[in-house]
């Protein structure tokens, strides 16, 4: 691993986006904040905490999934991989650089949700570090899924539709904005295939619920699995 490249790449990719287009933070916040309002109104404030937890995870996941199009764009349009092949870095450095860049870009959103969570007493201060850990795993696993999806695309145009489709599938259907307990067990198990579900179960159950341990295990396993697949599918040299 080449840490100085990874950090520089995150600065190049994430920070430049944030610095020159801070208004786009509003664009990725618009859906989760609207859903927060909706959940709040419909439940007369009862499910407010789910709106916060769900939105926080959704911000990370939807930004990570934007890698479907960014990775395709970098590879097919900008020829970024061609440029980076003859250097000291490899596919793992590039991948982590992309992921970290997305984390930088998502950071203002994460901070906003953490502040909301603290003010509205959804989670105590002491839970912030483990929650942040969960978000990092969500970022790794969902960006890996983004990279996996984009790795075989032949045209950037195909990535746009996929990116928004996946974003909906990953942030609206799984139990992010509503309590996971209301799902029939079998559906919950199926939804566990998306890393956002175990993440949400962990945070919703206040980090020490009955399914926390198993959800942590599932999340770790999925993160490892998806990251390895993404690494394997990121073709460095062409055949």
């Amino acid at each position: 691993m080449n840490l100085k490249f990874i950090l520089t790449f995150a600065w190049f990719y994430g920070w430049s986006g944030l610095k020159r287009g801070p208004v786009y933070v509003l664009s990725y916040l618009s859906l989760p904040l609207s859903l927060l309002l909706l959940v709040f109104i419909i439940s007369r404030g009862e499910l407010l905490s789910y709106g916060i937890i769900g939105g926080m995870i959704a911000v990370v996941a939807s930004n990570a999934l934007s890698l479907v199009s960014d990775n395709a764009f970098f590879k097919l349009e900008l020829r970024m991989i061609d440029l980076l092949v003859a250097t000291e870095v490899g596919p793992v450095d590039y991948m982590i650089g992309l992921m970290l860049g997305d984390l930088v870009f998502s950071f203002p959103g994460i901070v906003l949700y953490i502040i909301l969570g603290i003010i509205l007493k959804v989670f105590p201060l002491i839970e912030i570090p483990p929650i942040f850990g969960v978000l990092i795993l969500v970022m790794f696993s969902t960006s890996s899924l983004g990279i996996i999806t984009s790795s075989r695309l032949k045209h950037v145009r195909h990535s746009w539709g996929l990116s928004s489709f996946l974003s909906i599938v990953f942030t609206i259907i799984p139990p992010l904005y509503y309590p996971y307990q209301i799902l029939p067990k079998i559906i919950l198990y199926i939804l566990m295939a998306t890393p956002v579900t175990p993440a949400s179960v962990i945070v919703q159950s206040g980090l020490d619920g009955p399914s926390t341990m198993s959800s942590v295990a599932v999340l770790l396993l999925e993160t490892a699995l998806f990251t390895i697949c993404a690494r394997y599918l990121t073709q460095w040299e062409e055949k």
Binding site: N2, K4, F5, L7, T8, F9, W11, F12, Y13, S16, G17, R20, G21, F74, E77, L78, R79, M80, D82, L83, L84, V85, A86, T87, E88, V89, D93, E237, E238, K239
Partner: protein, 275 residues
């Protein structure tokens, strides 16, 4: 020194882009010229380990492109023909990112990037998002990467395409300053003539000519180019080559006479010339 032995590339769709190419390049700056689709980019990509050859072998400064791939990648720099900058990032951010990939610390990379961007004439715009730069300025960002990376061999695939004449001269002088050996692809004959010690002419994946400018001009020595008559037809223009001694006879005809350049070597490749 760059050597290839029967290097062949057949793409998945059956296109044979390189056809058993064997050649040896050892001048400070070597040039690849050839028509669109001749195989120049394919060759450059294979030599810079971006693309695997179908068969054959290539060795760069003693390192085999397949066996010693890892080591070689640290010793070469390759700027792809179609590389484009990311619109939202600045030239300084691009070159800095590239130089850290080449192993520099962030601080050194920033410093070297500034020097290189200055050298290619982008000193005024180092912090502008590249979306706001002209096409030629975008191209120069990549030239700046090449001149600052400080490796043994540098591959430049059409570095000056789209540049104005002055920018091109700026790039030439920057390229001459590079200490590395360079393999440069170009469609500008005067660029090849100006910069390159050795010129390789590719045609449909095969080597059609290799030598210094003078060696390549040798078959046309003592001739002039006649535009307006002849058997070589390019678009609507007829061309021929005649001895200088006979040129005066043509002066009253409606033709233009031009001195021989590398372009004529290129044009006459495989074309019979009246003697």
């Amino acid at each position: 020194m760059i050597e290839t032995f029967e290097l062949t590339k057949r793409y998945d769709d059956g296109t044979i882009a390189l056809n058993s190419l064997t050649m040896k390049l050892d001048s400070k700056i070597s040039c690849l010229i050839g028509r669109n689709g001749a195989g120049k980019t394919t060759l450059t990509r294979i030599l810079s380990t971006q693309l695997k050859p179908t068969s054959g072998k290539a060795v760069i400064n003693g390192y085999d492109i397949e066996r010693d791939r890892k080591t070689l990648r640290k010793k070469i720099t390759s700027i792809p023909q179609e590389a484009k900058p990311m619109g939202i990032a600045s030239p300084l951010e691009h070159v800095t990112m590239y130089l850290t990939a080449k192993g520099m610390s962030f601080r050194d990379a920033v410093r070297e990037a500034k020097v290189a961007l200055e050298a290619v004439g982008l000193g005024e715009v180092i912090d502008k998002p590249t979306d706001e730069l002209s096409g030629g300025m975008k191209r120069k960002i990549f030239v700046a990467m090449a001149i600052s990376s400080n490796t043994d061999v540098v591959f430049l695939d059409e570095p000056t395409t789209g540049l104005d004449p002055i920018s091109r001269m700026e790039v030439w002088s920057a390229v001459r300053e590079i200490r590395s050996k360079i393999l440069l692809t170009t469609h500008y004959m005067e660029e090849a003539q100006e910069l390159c010690g050795q010129i390789a002419i590719l045609d449909r994946g095969k080597l059609r000519g290799l030598g210094t400018v003078n060696e390549l001009l040798e078959p046309l020595k003592g001739k002039v180019r006649v535009e307006g008559m002849g058997d070589i037809i390019i678009g609507k223009t007829r061309l021929s080559y005649v001895d200088k001694t006979k040129a005066s006879e043509l002066l009253d005809k409606n033709v233009t006479l031009k001195p021989i350049t590398l372009e004529d070597v290129f044009i006459t490749m495989g074309v019979e010339i009246e003697s």
